[in-house]
Subunit: 158 residues, 2 copies
DNA sequence: CACATTTAACTTGTGCACGATGTAATCGTG
DNA sequence: CACGATTACATCGTGCACAAGTTAAATGTG
């Protein structure tokens, strides 16, 4: 097969599963989450709960709105999730005195202590991914650009 | 900052959200699925349903087991999903005569016709992603390797 | 200051994901 | 050929995601 036809084939969009970047992305995301599961089970967290804890460990008390902005998740997801974290004793929800609409999420002592146990998670995942530092960095850059591109395109078509 | 410290920093694993490749992956996957949503709404499909239809358009009648193997999804996900496709009139579920345990999923006329309307979806997504052919190919390769690596690592630790 | 608008959060409903459990059909081995 | 193991699928329960609608507080404008 000559090079011209190959190049053209790359831009031909098919309905074959293995041609879809979206499927590789979807499958990789679920595979990585599955690898997290046993590690997070030990901490009593699900993967989305872990992400919320990352935000809190990094920023301390934040309004739910800011958690949503950081993780690109809406209240329909976060409200029940954070209530489960509260039931687990890891966070407290407190209405702001200055603005009665906003609810601040605070770490409890136990939630703060969990951070130390969580430090082993990123290295374990890093080892499981088994990518070079360059590949990791390239993947991160590309995935961010991809997310930005499709989000911008969605906004344009809305 | 000298190069040694930079290189070391790349391998230092933090709990900062923006250092996590997993989050970039998770966010990108959801962003892409969101971009699919309006396109698939027109076809009356969700994104996972679209993936099942891709398998059927490609292979025709297949056991549910094979759909699961192709998409890495279990029966708990597929059984109700395929029943919804059946309720929508796109597929038929038929028990095999040779092996009464297996259920073959067949396209109906309507399900087959939907393929023509679906042909516009991959180009639209391709345009929204806005990556060069090289980047797309590189991303696909890297994401597959990532999924393989973490799955293998999970199997090892199980 | 009244009042329409906006904002932060909650609620409800649908549809994945996935672990755990159950069941019937088939297979493998003695 | 008996019978324990395996296989294909279904069911149930929990926890996301996300759209749509609701409520109450804050804001802006006449």
């Amino acid at each position: 097969m000559d090079r011209t036809r190959e190049a053209a084939a790359e831009r031909e969009f098919t309905l074959l599963l293995d041609d879809q970047l979206c499927f590789a992305l979807y499958a990789a995301s679920r595979a990585v989450t599955s690898r997290y599961r046993p590690l997070l089970d030990d901490l009593g967290l699900t993967y989305p709960q872990y992400l919320v804890m990352l935000v809190l460990w990094q920023h301390g008390a934040v309004p739910i709105k800011d958690v949503g902005a950081a993780l690109q998740l809406d209240y329909g997801t976060l409200t029940p999730l954070i209530k489960r974290l509260e039931a687990a004793g890891l966070v407290r929800r407190e209405r702001s005195a200055r603005d009665e609409r906003t609810v601040h999420v605070n770490l409890t002592e136990e939630g703060d202590r969990l951070r130390d146990r969580a430090r082993d998670v990123p290295p374990a995942i890093g080892a499981a991914m088994n990518l070079s530092p360059e590949e990791t960095k390239a993947a991160m850059t590309l995935l961010r650009r991809l997310a930005d591109n499709v989000s911008a395109d969605l906004a344009r078509h809305a």
